[in-house]
């Protein structure tokens, strides 16, 4: 069911409030996602940026209700088109997944079942949610393969995943995800495993599909360049919580958190600015953030980034509960010193 952007005016497609996920580990119950809140409006793409240990993937899986089992505890609220996912029964979740909200993953080859044709795997989803006959489902399958840009779709539908390249497999995944025209698509590092030229085409495809289906997208990536192409707003996650959230332009031009500034610095000066007349250039050191992402059971008190932060102040940054504070339209940051600091963003362009 496509979400008509004019229909549910004002009400977000996805509303996450105080999402907290704990896992039972050798260190006892450990929080990996800590009170995360954000929302996505109809037709909007929210980029969720973070490195390993940030909790971005678990957050995404929680939206789908896929974090379960005896060693997991999920609290808070996740509403997809007003429907509460947390605490909902499996049968209810199963009707929502694939139909209202879909997900694609990082390794497309591994995410497809090698024992079935790709067509079978798309048809399956339509038959499950829309009760189509075999013939209708197959017709829909071929149509979807065409929509996602696979040439000779009728023939390819009968092929197995191992006969397709990585990029094609990811297109098939998109076909599966969008066959029932969901309102929300969650993409977890969808292009990370693909070649750069393939990635570019894939992102272009996703943009056009977004237009065509009126999708909202939760786009997860560690790559700021990719996020820059795809997202309207960006939320930066660090050590289980959102460090800052802002519209894309503003995040990159004037970051509101030292972590964001640090990430941007590693992309800075990629080499196309200045000195282009100098053809024999010495390799240059890159700006980096010192230290490492802390493990979930060893999160520092206070601001979790403070041990690595150039601007950390004793007494302010190393203790207490630091909340995500809004400032300016659609912007919020967890840095207590934000107002005092001048954080460097990207130089234009």
């Amino acid at each position: 069911m496509a979400a008509d952007p004019h229909d549910t005016a004002g009400s977000p497609v996805l509303e996450v409030s105080d999402l907290t996920v704990d896992f039972e580990t050798e260190h006892g119950w450990t929080t990996v996602v800590d009170s995360v809140s954000f929302s996505i409006e109809a037709g909007e793409t929210l980029g969720l940026v973070g490195e390993s240990g940030s909790g971005k993937t678990i957050t995404a899986l929680s939206v789908m209700g896929l974090v379960d089992g005896r060693g997991a505890r999920v609290q808070g609220s996740v509403k997809v088109e007003g429907r509460e996912m947390i605490g909902a029964s499996e049968p209810v979740l199963r009707t929502v997944r694939g139909d209202l909200v879909s997900m694609i993953f990082q390794e497309p080859r591994r995410s497809l079942n090698p024992a079935f044709t790709v067509g079978n795997q798309i048809a399956e989803t339509v038959r499950r949610h829309q009760g189509l006959s075999r013939r209708d489902a197959w017709a829909k399958t071929v149509e979807m393969l065409d929509i996602v840009g696979i040439p000779d779709p009728a023939r390819r539908a009968r092929q197995y995943p191992h006969e397709l390249s990585g990029g094609m497999c990811q297109r098939v995944m998109l076909g599966i995800a969008l066959a029932c025209e969901p309102a929300l698509l969650i993409a977890d590092e969808p292009t990370t495993a693909l070649d750069a030229t393939v990635q570019k085409r894939m992102l272009g495809l996703m943009q056009s599909l977004k237009q065509r289906f009126g999708l909202s997208i939760l786009f997860i990536s560690h790559d700021l360049g990719v996020v820059s192409e795809m997202a309207d707003r960006v939320a930066v996650m660090y050590a289980g919580s959102i460090a800052e959230i802002a519209p894309r332009h503003e995040l990159f031009a004037e970051p509101g958190h030292p972590y964001t500034a640090g990430l941007l610095a590693t992309y800075a000066d990629g080499g196309d600015g200045g000195g282009s007349g100098d053809t024999v250039r010495q390799p240059r050191r890159m700006l980096s953030i010192a230290g490492m992402v802390p493990a979930a059971h060893e999160w520092p008190t206070g601001c979790r980034f403070h041990p690595r932060c150039l601007h950390a102040q004793e007494g302010r940054c190393d203790a207490g509960e630091l909340a995500l504070v809004g400032f300016g339209p659609q912007r919020a940051s967890r840095c207590v010193r934000r107002g005092e600091l001048v954080l460097e963003g990207l130089q234009s362009p």
Partner: protein, 315 residues
């Protein structure tokens, strides 16, 4: 696929030749002597030698093999040295018994193992799973004759639910009696194989469930049944089929002891007697039939791989 089958058949034919030749050679090397036994107690050395010549037992190995092989290819497996019954008819009499027994055991194995294996894989590390795993571990180590004797004692002697011995051909008393006579021996034969197959199914399914494509299947909103029985099972099938193939071999082998305990006039008994008596044509006949059945089973397993896993279709 056709190429796969042709190749396997060629290899199978070659193997049959090698096996039957080796068996003939082994019989020669084994202690004891068919001629002596045939001639009977108190026979003089000349009489024994006479028997030997009559039966061409002194001819060189290759010649004897050559003669046997050329006959066998036309379907003539020769005559028993002791009973003067043709080998093929003796086998023909006994085979249906063993086949019924083996089929029953196989049916029990597959059905019970599937049920237990799927249940255990669905709720891993829970009480149910631990029970199934423990029971399987225990049963796996029980040889068929132990289970057989236990089963007979409990079900046939202490209570008369099921017959203790014998085989009832369908032609005699109908299907019901035939089935009743097969239950206990079939279960005895199946016990260890069921346990092993159940463990394999559980393990392979759990493995398959951990894969990324199962995560995708869940994300699509598929039901639990579809995920386990369609997505996971098709990938888990290969190791399961392999173990199943092995179990069939095991069942055929175990049939001998079970037939003995339950006094069933089966193929296993025939084989045993033939070896004891060094009834060479019978031994060869038995070996051929056994070897063919094992080779056929292996071929079927190989073909099933191709059906289940598309990557393996070009041999």
């Amino acid at each position: 696929m056709a190429r796969l089958i042709t190749r396997r058949l060629m290899t199978a034919a070659l193997l049959l030749v090698i096996i039957t030749f080796l068996v003939l050679a082994l019989v020669d090397l084994a202690p004891g002597d068919a001629a002596t036994r045939l001639a009977g107690d108190g026979a003089s050395p000349e009489q024994i030698q006479q028997v030997r010549e009559d039966l061409d037992l002194d001819d060189p190995l290759l010649e004897r093999y050559g003669r046997w092989a050329s006959d066998a290819v036309t379907g003539d497996l020769g005559t028993s040295l002791f009973s003067s019954q043709s080998v093929s008819s003796a086998i023909g009499d006994r085979l249906p018994v063993t086949l019924s027994l083996a089929a029953t055991a196989l049916l029990i194995t597959v059905v019970v193992a599937l049920v237990l294996g799927v249940i255990a894989a669905n709720w891993p590390h829970t009480l149910v799973d631990r029970f199934v795993t423990a029971a399987a571990a225990l049963t796996m180590s029980l040889p068929p004759f132990v289970v057989g004797v236990l089963a007979v004692t409990v079900f046939a002697i202490q209570r008369s639910w099921l017959p203790a011995t014998g085989y009832s051909p369908v032609a005699d008393d109908g299907y019901a009696e035939w089935a009743r006579h097969l239950i206990l021996p079939g279960a005895a034969l199946a016990a260890a194989s069921t346990a092993e197959l159940a463990r394999q199914i559980r393990g392979s399914l759990i493995d398959a469930m951990r894969q990324d494509y199962v995560r995708t299947a869940r994300a699509k909103g598929l039901t639990r049944g579809a995920i386990v029985c369609k997505h996971a099972m098709k990938n888990a099938a290969i190791p399961i089929l392999t173990v199943l193939g092995l179990q069939v071999g095991r069942i055929l082998g175990g049939a001998v002891t079970v037939e003995f305990i339950f006094v069933m006039p089966g193929f296993g008994q025939l084989a045993l007697t033939a070896v004891e008596q060094q009834d060479i044509p019978m031994i060869q006949g038995v070996v051929v039939v056994s070897a063919i059945s094992v080779l056929v089973i292996n071929l079927l397993v190989d073909i099933s791989y191709g059906l289940v896993n598309p990557k393996l279709r070009r041999a």
